[in-house]
């Protein structure tokens, strides 16, 4: 079953085409990778799915419903959350609070209830904290619960972004370069985490990544963008041997040597 469909998605910035006519179908519970050189339009593509940008033309369908024209927070409420390439944490809030913000749309508490100290609202908040702790545990940040998010190390910040995103209980999770800045060991942990999330959290994952090891290892399918155009898509093996991809991205050397 296709959970997400992207049809002819095009974005222009004042005459410059950032992405043009991108089509993509994502099966439920699949892991899809979007690769391509820097500046190929991958992040713009993510921004359109999450409504940070509105596409110039084309359509995005989640479970058959169009997302075009929605506000970012509505897209999130529909079940798509994301992480960011240049980390966007709430730096002056604690790690736990960051995850709690992620849970925002699923919390049934209301501020008037909070002021009146209604017992069931208190219960919701208490449970939320426990759940948030569980999530932190899950992404391996249980020792930084009270730390300010801005003070975490780079890799930990990336994991917190993932934790925050899954706290929103997304149907589709977009990861923008989750392994950037991680060493091989951390990358391996991340790879396992992504695998695990797919099975445990029943989530569909789309990721942008440059680390080919990771991409080839976990993706069910790969889409390759170059200059805003989709130049190839398919299973990892197909992509690995696609000439166009090799020329545009992996480097010509890979052909002769590979």
């Amino acid at each position: 079953m296709n959970i997400l469909e992207v049809k002819h998605l095009t974005k222009e910035f004042g005459g410059l085409t950032a992405t043009s006519d991108i089509n993509m179908t994502v099966e439920k519970n699949a892991i899809t990778a979007v690769i391509g050189p820097n500046g190929a339009g991958k992040t713009t593509f993510f921004n359109m799915i999450t409504a940070v940008y509105q596409p110039t033309s084309g359509d995005i369908l989640l479970n058959g419903k169009s997302l075009v024209g929605l506000k970012p927070h509505q897209v999130s409420q529909f079940g798509i959350t994301r992480t960011f390439q240049n980390i966007r944490l709430f730096e002056n809030m604690t790690v736990l609070e960051n995850v709690l913000v992620g849970m925002h749309q699923n919390l049934k508490s209301h501020w008037i209830g909070t002021l009146l100290q209604l017992p069931h609202i208190r219960k919701i908040e208490e449970d939320a904290r426990v759940t948030a702790y569980d999530i932190l545990n899950y992404v391996g940040l249980e020792n930084y619960v009270n730390e300010n998010a801005g003070n975490l190390a780079y890799g930990a910040q990336r994991r917190l972004e993932i934790g925050r995103a899954i706290a929103a209980k997304p149907k589709v999770l977009l990861l923008d370069e989750p392994a950037a800045g991680m060493n091989p060991k951390e990358t391996e942990r991340l790879t396992n985490l992504i695998h695990d999330m797919r099975t445990k959290l029943d989530v569909t994952i789309i990721l942008i990544e440059h680390d080919m090891n990771l991409v080839m290892k976990i993706s069910d399918s790969i889409y390759v963008l170059d200059h805003g155009e989709l130049i190839a898509s398919g299973k990892p093996n197909e992509i690995r041997n696609n000439k166009k991809v090799i020329e545009a991205y992996l480097g010509k050397g890979a052909v002769s040597n590979g």
Binding site: T43, N47, V52, Y53, F84, N86
Partner: protein
């Protein structure tokens, strides 16, 4: 009703232009600093005020030494405006050194720099008031009258639907000097090496520093020019209106800032346009609001009128009339 408004139009234009060019030059000071540091320099209005007082001091000194009577007025004026401009320019550089540079080094949030600028503004207002009061017992300072020859623009005989308009020679002086300043600034910014450096720093500070540009020095120069222009305008203001007090900068500063935002903050030509436009609008509102509203709203609503126009402009064009929309990179 319309006839009334049209009759008065030449006079309103002259008065609006006088006030508008003053707004324009002060607005440029805001815009230059904003363009380069993305900081609203709230103290700029008070730099303008300090310039007016420095001009007054020089003028009184010259008068005390008897130069005022001995020299032609225009020469006295040039001496006064040049000295005041240099002094306020240096003041601006000093303010940047003391209050903004340390924050830049610390990478402090922008709001903090805004707070220091409010602080500087308080200090300047009070210091000037304090000195003026200590000297004269009254902080309202009246300059000796200069350039008060009266002209009448005899429009009525040629164009009977207009009334005659009058102005003083100081109006011509203000207009000519501000236009010279605006042209000189425009040439400086667009044609000289330092102007180029300023634009480069405004566009991309990090990269500019890679081009052997001493960013701090460029910022100092920017503050010097912006403040010197402000100070010179202060002198013009003193000559045009004759009376200054330590709070003129506050009142005028808010308006000039509004003008800068109206034109698109960070854009020098936008500030010029915004200033002149605001001056004209205000003058138009002051002389015609009660005619238009049949007395329901009088001249006292002119500021409301100005602010509402600003808010409307910002709602429909959040980056101002001449500003460029900045797309945040995600």
């Amino acid at each position: 009703m319309l006839a009334h408004i049209i009759q008065n139009l030449p006079q309103v234009l002259i008065d609006g232009l006088t006030l508008g060019v003053v707004y324009a030059v002060v607005a440029i000071g805001y815009t230059m600093v904003y363009g380069i540091l993305e900081l609203i320099n709230f103290a700029h209005g008070d730099v303008f005020m300090t310039g007016a007082f420095m001009g007054a001091i020089v003028l009184f000194l010259l008068m005390g030494m008897g130069f005022l009577a001995a020299l032609p007025a225009i020469l006295v004026f040039i001496i006064v405006i040049v000295i005041a401009a240099i002094a306020t320019g240096l003041l601006g550089v000093g303010i940047e050194r003391v209050a903004y540079r340390p924050l830049r080094k610390k990478n402090a949030p922008k709001l903090i720099a805004l707070i220091t600028s409010i602080g500087i503004s308080f200090v300047l207002e009070d210091l000037v008031r304090f000195i003026a009061e200590l000297k004269t017992g009254n902080y309202i300072v009246t300059a000796p009258p200069m350039f008060n020859h009266k002209f009448t623009l005899n429009l009525h005989s040629a164009l009977p639907f207009f009334n005659n308009a009058t102005f003083q020679s100081s109006f011509l002086l203000v207009l000519i000097v501000t236009i010279i300043m605006l042209i000189a600034l425009d040439l400086f910014v667009n044609k000289t090496k330092w102007g180029m450096a300023m634009r480069a720093v405004a566009q991309d500070r990090d990269t500019a520093s890679l081009m052997t540009i001493n960013v701090n020095r460029v910022i100092s120069v920017t503050f010097f020019i912006g403040s010197a222009l402000g100070g010179a305008t202060g002198v013009l203001f003193m000559i045009q209106y004759g009376t200054i007090d330590p709070y003129i900068g506050f009142v005028l500063g808010i308006k000039a800032f509004t003008a800068a935002v109206l034109g698109g903050i960070g854009n020098i030509r936008g500030a010029m346009f915004g200033g002149v436009m605001l001056g004209l609008l205000e003058m138009f509102a002051a002389s015609n609001l009660s005619i238009i509203t049949h007395g329901a709203m009088g001249a006292e609503y002119k500021d409301v009128f100005a602010f509402i126009i600003l808010i409307l402009v910002l709602i429909f064009k959040p980056e101002g009339l001449f500003g460029k929309a900045v797309v945040e990179k995600v």
